[in-house]
């Protein structure tokens, strides 16, 4: 299986100060609707929700709000971050992390269950091209 089959795109992560304040502009300007959430994730120290338009080829957007003052996402927002991560699904988390390590990526966070995905595990890595990527386990 090549990498295009192994990893499938899941969503684009966008850091926002407030989901409540950010949501209306996505709904009114672009016609997005709330797909799920908000969920509070104590491990990642964020609240997240997912938006979509249900149109063919369109992507899911994850709005990510810092849950406390020390949240890593809050620090990113201090620097002006908007869209800051891509998420890909993979059937085999261990194999996914082996593949990214082989490509010179650094594993930023080991797999941990995520409330927003029904406790499916997520992990984080950073590519040599300086892009933050989330890996989502396809099933429990």
């Amino acid at each position: 299986m090549n990498d295009s089959e192994f990893f499938t795109f899941h969503h684009l992560g966008v850091a926002v100060r407030s989901i409540e304040k950010a949501l209306p502009s996505y709904e009114k300007l672009f016609g997005y609707r709330l797909l799920s959430g908000p969920f509070r994730d104590p491990i990642q120290r964020v609240s997240v929700c997912f938006l979509g338009r249900g149109e063919g080829g369109d992507i899911t957007i994850e709005l990510v709000e810092p849950a406390d003052e020390d949240s890593p996402v809050g620090k990113l927002l201090d620097k002006g971050a908007g869209a800051y991560h891509l998420c890909y699904e993979a059937a085999d988390m261990d194999e996914a992390l082996r593949r990214v390590a082989d490509q010179g990526c650094i594993i930023v966070a080991k797999p941990a269950p995520a409330v927003a995905f029904g406790n499916r595990r997520i992990a984080w890595f950073y590519t040599p091209a300086r892009q933050l990527i989330e890996v989502l386990e396809r099933s429990l």
Binding site: L76, G104, I106, I107, Y126, P128, R130, L132
Partner: protein
């Protein structure tokens, strides 16, 4: 502390943070270097891994709090 490794790490950090190498010491940390934020922390780790041929664990990346920490980590991994 290994002076050769320290000198190389100082040069890498100076380039990354866009400051003269003389401004980087073993004590330089995110608290003393404004440009050293969470994203630059990851960029620093990328540069160190590529330059020294080492791999850092997520816990080691979290605990890397100064240039001296980076030097000690690289030293330990090269010995190991």
């Amino acid at each position: 502390m290994n002076e050769e490794i320290l000198a190389r790490v100082r040069r890498i950090a100076a380039t990354l943070f866009d400051v003269p190498a003389a401004k980087i010491t073993a004590e330089t940390s995110p608290a003393t270097m404004e440009a050293w934020d969470s994203v630059q922390q990851l960029n620093l780790v990328l540069e160190l891994e590529q330059s020294f041929g080492v791999k850092l664990e997520p816990e080691e990346i979290d605990e890397l709090r100064s240039i001296g920490d980076a030097v000690r980590l690289i030293e330990a991994k090269r010995v190991g």
